[in-house]
Symmetry: C2
Subunit: 151 residues, 2 copies
DNA sequence: TATTAGTTTATAATTATTATAAATACAAAC
DNA sequence: GTTTGTATTTATAATAATTATAAACTAATA
């Protein structure tokens, strides 16, 4: 964890931003809850536990900053709330999500499934792809089993 | 256009909803501006031209209803505003989007590029895919040419 | 005609997010 | 070591999108 914090610190410094105590606290929360997709509000509540004096606006500003530097990805699953999500170290792309319409769970797919599709888009549409967001909506494994049992 | 309106009317009736004058006006706007991605506010302004007495809340409610019936797709490109977009007749899936980070234009891809990827998700993750949303971020053809000329 | 359920309008309320101004921290220059 | 300037944060206010609510309306039905 310290290693990744250190890398993020360097990324900030490279753009002449500082890793202030508040920013460090926020990054620590994101690292701890890496598998989750936290809303700004959730980050705020978690950060308050280790840095109680922090303000909500700072959380928003920091998440925006991290998002610009491609350290976190900001995504909107359609419920009006933005979620923030650490990008895996070295990952070129946003990872994919599987959103279950039954239980609301969000699973991640780290593999890049879109290499071929991107080539098609580049060649056929002349669109130079920089990044992508892919979300599948459907029924997760757990909910499928429940449905089967129920019938 | 009348044909498609009629089909939508039937879809509403099938779920025992009525095609009220307000709903009809909204659907007409969506049909006229099919290639666009309109926000609720934009729909509201356009509908007011043909049905001035309509309320914004009705627009929201109707778009939500159409969205539930999969007649329109609601999408959020990350700017906090939801866009609404008619689903092509007979289309099983949400279509894909190419969002240009230079000029903000949004292009549509109607082809389904994800059949193979969906199979992988179904088989490897056991996730039963119902729908998907795929957006590419990058530089559109026009902006690429501008960049080339500028150098 | 009276009734009922569904729908709309107008408005208020809510929620997420952003802007602002004053306070603070901290590094560089003197 | 103080001063100065810039970046950052805090607290609060403002904004913008969306949703909830209550009253009015409509159309079908008993």
């Amino acid at each position: 964890m310290e290693h990744r914090l250190d890398r993020i610190k360097k990324q900030l410094h490279a753009q002449s931003y500082k890793l202030t105590p508040q920013r460090e606290a926020i990054v620590r929360v994101l690292l701890e809850r890496e598998e989750d997709h936290l809303s700004a509000e959730e980050v705020y509540l978690l950060v308050k536990e280790i840095a109680p004096e922090i303000g909500l606006a700072t959380v928003y500003r920091t998440l925006d900053l991290l998002s610009e530097l491609k350290i976190v990805d900001k995504i909107n699953f359609g419920d009006g709330v933005s979620s923030y999500d650490l990008r895996k170290e070295g990952a070129k792309h946003f990872h994919h999500h599987l959103v279950c319409t039954e239980c609301g769970s969000v699973e991640e797919i780290v593999d890049d499934l879109l290499e071929d599709v991107e080539k098609i888009v580049q060649n056929d549409w002349g669109f130079q792809v920089k990044d992508h967001r892919l979300t599948f909506h459907g029924v997760c494994r757990v909910c499928q089993e429940i449905t089967v049992k129920a019938t």
